[in-house]
Amino acid sequence: MSMREAIARFVEDGDSVVLGTFMEAKIPFSAGHEIIRQGKKDLTLVAPISDMLFDQLIGAGCAAEVRAAWVGNVMMGSAYNFRRACEQGKPRPIRVTDYTNFTMALALQAGAWGVPFLPTLSTFGTDLLKRNPSLKSFACPLTGKPLVAVEALRPDVAVLPVQRCDELGNSHSWGNWGITLEASRASRKVLLVTEEVVSTEVIRSDPNRSWLPGFLVAAVVHEPWGCHPSPVQGYYNRDHSAYQEYHRETKTEEGFAAWSKRWVHGVRDRAEYMEQLGADRARSLRVRQDAFAHPTNFGF
């Protein structure tokens, strides 16, 4: 399925959408850009951090709410669209529900396990606990001691990049997991964005690297370079300069409009985005030295 079709069919106005579950790696930028091109509205954006992708969706006016632990540009610090939306209501006001990384992960794990909450010791004494209505202190039913209940999140859609995947949605992913496992189980629909399509036999050859049963997957989008400028282990590296350029170019609304015109609205899809980026720059991000995992025998 093309990214255009997947976003059109599976992301509706008003949905809550998880984007950026692997932390700074494997961020589904191409899915985010397609959401912007299709002008989706009133989304609730969910992730611990999304690096600069949330800032782009906020700047495009797609988001009504952000549920996150950190919104910005990891390399550069604050991001300007997020600040403009919070401080000046531009291009539209947004609600911000502040989590911590851990409480975001627990909220999704509660959703994944089908329980209304999970308990934690984190956030006591903070303004996060006071202001986020999804965090509530209560007395432990066994010890009587105080705990914080983190309310379950059940997002409508999770967009999850993987390195390789079969047509049925069975996939392999490697590198740091972040909150991907719980997000995949907690969400009503999962869109997989894969660098490569492989045979089912490849996936079945290593069931421990296969992390999500195909029956939970709504659609598979084959989208090479779908995560640029974030990295995909074994495929391409992080394009640090893209984060610096974005920071420099989006200080003003006009700057963001120009940036969007060039990288989002000015291209039809990820293939055109990569043309825009140029073959030399892509080549410079490619894996320079392979490093294969030691062989593992599943025989019997």
Binding site: M23, N176, N237
Partner: protein
């Protein structure tokens, strides 16, 4: 600051490293006095070997390759909540008299300036055995009371943490561009422990937003030696974090 951060790490400790200066401090400690220290990252990476290349983020491919374990956030946060993490490093926009941190919003002119938010900072401040803050030393960044408490220090002082529901932990030090502050075990209040070369007790107190107490044995922070500078240059060759 990098060198001072590295000196806070004891050998064999399990450390929530974070990025930027603390990461460099961790690498420095590993190569000098704490070779068996282990680094945890919120994204799920656990490493006992430095990455082979300069890192901008904890999820950069060089941090994954050669890791001891690549797991998920809940797993490393679970170890943190169990009390298995000795030390965490944190930055902040504001740190106050009791070591509370604000990285969510600060007063602007007019209204509020929105900052990125907690990330894992609140979790690390809540649950590590101790944490160390790294911050630029300017009067408006060290107010008497943070305008928003993102990450708990000693709250209002005394036994506030236990009363509030935090069973252990708290700040051990604030490493600034001018000095090192430490905390009184009873009151939980910060005091001036050492002053960096080039600064003075008076300047530090002037640049602090409350009546900063001064340790009777306040010293000068020992400057980095040649070996330490050499190691820092190796891990941050272009001075991205340290210039």
């Amino acid at each position: 600051m990098v060198v001072a951060a590295g000196r806070e790490i004891a050998d064999g400790e399990v450390v929530f490293v974070g990025m930027r200066l603390p990461l460099l401090g961790f690498l420095l400690a590993k190569e000098t006095h704490a070779p068996r220290a282990v680094g945890l990252y919120e994204n799920g990476v656990i490493r006992d070997l430095p990455a082979s290349e300069f890192l901008v983020t904890m999820s950069d491919p060089p941090n994954v390759k050669g890791a001891s374990v690549c797991t998920d956030m809940l797993d490393v946060m679970g170890l943190l909540q169990q009390g298995r993490v000795h030390l965490g490093f944190l930055g902040a926009a504001e740190v106050d008299r009791y070591g509370n941190l604000n990285s969510t919003q600060v007063r602007g002119n007019p209204g509020w300036i929105r900052l990125p938010g907690s990330g894992g900072a609140c979790d690390i401040a809540s649950l590590s055995q101790r944490f160390v803050v790294i911050v630029e030393h300017e009067r408006q960044r060290l107010p008497a009371r943070v305008s928003y408490c993102t990450s708990p220090g000693f709250g209002e002082g005394g036994d506030w943490r236990r009363r509030t529901g935090l069973p252990w932990g708290g700040p051990a030090a604030v490493i600034t561009t001018r000095a090192i502050l430490r905390f009184d075990g009873e009151s939980g209040e910060a005091y001036l422990a050492s002053v960096h070369p080039g600064s003075s007790v008076e300047e530090v107190r002037w640049q602090t937003g409350w009546e900063l107490k001064v340790a009777p044995d306040v010293t000068q922070t020992p400057p980095p030696n040649q070996e330490e500078l050499r190691i820092i240059r190796r891990y941050d060759p272009e001075g991205f974090w340290t210039s």
